[in-house]
């Protein structure tokens, strides 16, 4: 799963668009989703999905698979809104919540709209492209450096972990729950020791290239397109307006 989103992003059609453009589009709509009624939310979900599938040509199977990841949580949480608990005269009453359906639908719609924005961004913008942007948001250099090293290494560790798990499985370390827990603990320890060793060697590797203490990132080669960013913001305003005028519709 780690590789799913990241690998695709590097090959996506819109990879070479400036990350700020994609952030303006996805981020603008994401923020709007908190302030717009149901009609606006459906519009956001529809628009982002269409842009993702038809514009950026993200494969439908991939898009729906990733969108399905937060679904379990969203649905379970929304289902809790349908039910109401109360405690009267020593008894626990469980009943249907008043206005519960409306709240649940609103919640699911907002979560889906927001999730689609986030997923659109991560499927079209590889990590190596959005990380340098963080400095522009005044995230401290020490944190961005740490993120860079983390990102670089998590694939090394994931690969190592998968090898270790396969080796354990080959030695039948996965037969019972108890066995699996034990195997996981041992694998974790092994991975950790190696990660400490790797840390030391990475440090030496960086020093060998005259690392002075701050990782300077290469900025994105192209400049962000102002028309596209303005266009995205305009789109947000249009959807906000539609949401506003349809606010009094039933179930809006």
């Amino acid at each position: 799963m780690i590789h799913l989103i990241d690998c695709y992003a590097y090959t996506s059609l819109w990879r070479h668009r400036h990350p700020a453009e994609k952030a303006a589009f996805a981020g603008g709509l994401l923020l709007l989703s908190f302030f717009t009624p149901l009609t606006g939310l459906f519009l956001i979900l529809l628009l982002v999905s269409l842009v993702a599938l038809l514009g950026a040509r993200i494969p439908a199977a991939l898009y729906s698979r990733v969108l399905a990841v937060p679904m379990a949580f969203i649905l379970i949480g929304a289902a809790s809104l349908l039910v109401s608990l109360s405690y009267h005269s020593g008894h626990l009453h469980i009943g249907l919540a008043e206005g519960g359906l409306k709240s649940a639908v609103q919640l699911v719609a907002r979560a889906l709209a927001a999730a689609s924005c986030l997923i659109f961004f991560s499927l079209t913008t590889p990590t190596a492209d959005w990380m340098p942007l963080l400095r522009k948001f005044h995230i401290p250099a020490v944190v961005v450096d740490l993120m860079l090293v983390t990102y670089r290494l998590l694939f090394v560790f994931a690969e190592r972990l998968s090898t270790l798990q396969q080796a354990q499985a080959a030695r039948l370390g996965n037969l019972t729950v108890r066995n699996r827990l034990r195997s996981t603990g041992l694998i974790g320890a092994n991975l950790f020791i190696r990660s400490l060793d790797r840390a030391r060697r990475i440090e030496l590797g960086m020093e060998a290239r005259c690392y002075t203490g701050e990782i300077t990132c290469l900025p994105f080669e192209r400049k962000a397109s102002i028309p596209i960013i303005c266009g995205s913001l305009l789109l947000c305003l249009v959807i906000a307006w539609i949401g506003f005028i349809t606010k009094r519709w039933p179930y809006a």
């Binding site: 780690i2 908190f34 990841v69 969203i74 979560a111 740490l146 983390t150 991975l191 060793d197």
Partner: protein, 225 residues
């Protein structure tokens, strides 16, 4: 247990960001101090957060049959210390949101509060408190990790309850609802993670390679207890 993107209303999402930021800022100050004193700690911290991330992407066997993921925060708190975990945990959460569609950016503040702040502090406090009471290493680690995880789950349920109070019984009723709904998955994960952490830490202790001593640069970190 990550709160997914867009789940919390804007006021709550922003509110939890405001609450978590001071802790993150303190963590960053702590990091800067560590790196200034020990430049070699930089790579160590990067590998630590990569390690926590990969651990959290593991699939644990679950009693209910479905698979669930550990948080790695209890382990992280014991090995790296809780102040640093505020930042490492947040970095892990950011990557989880963007690389795994797990959690979100607006909800990162809330998730960081329960997973990178409350969880680690509870685990850390319990671990050292129990050790001081001369409880065995294994049992301390197990209890600290398990209860740290449970603290995270309780905190997340409280965050959800605050955002969605029950129509009839307000916060209290909603809190009970969310606790009940997520208990089925969260309690077994907490127990499993506790067991795994004990096995992991004990294996590390028996190794005692030179590298483990590198952890002592992290304030309150390391396995020297």
């Amino acid at each position: 247990m990550h709160i997914m993107e867009g789940y919390l209303p804007v006021a709550h999402a922003a509110g939890w960001w405001v609450v978590s930021l001071p802790f993150m800022a303190a963590g960053v100050r702590s990091l800067k101090r560590i790196i200034m004193d020990h430049p070699s700690a930089r790579a160590l911290l990067g590998t630590s957060s990569a390690f926590v991330f990969v651990l959290s992407a593991l699939k644990l066997p679950s009693v209910t049959g479905s698979s669930s993921h550990p948080t790695g925060t209890g382990l992280g708190a014991i090995l790296f210390g809780p102040s640093v975990m505020a930042v490492l945990g947040s970095i892990v959460l950011l990557f989880q949101a963007l690389l795994l569609a797990h959690g979100g950016l607006t909800t990162l503040g809330a998730n960081a509060f329960s997973m990178a702040i409350v969880g680690p502090w509870v685990a850390f406090g319990l671990f050292h408190g129990l050790r001081r009471c001369r409880v065995s290493f294994s049992f301390s680690a197990f209890l600290a990790t398990t209860l740290g995880n449970l603290a995270t789950y309780v905190c997340t349920s409280a965050q959800l309850a605050l955002a969605f109070p029950d129509a009839a019984s307000g916060f209290a009723g909603s809190f009970v609802k969310f606790l009940a709904v997520f208990a089925i998955t969260q309690i077994p994960i907490a127990l499993a993670e506790g067991i795994i952490t004990v096995i992991l830490l004990n294996t590390l202790r028996s190794y005692n390679p030179e590298e483990l001593r590198g952890l002592d640069v992290l304030p309150k970190g390391g396995l020297s207890t």
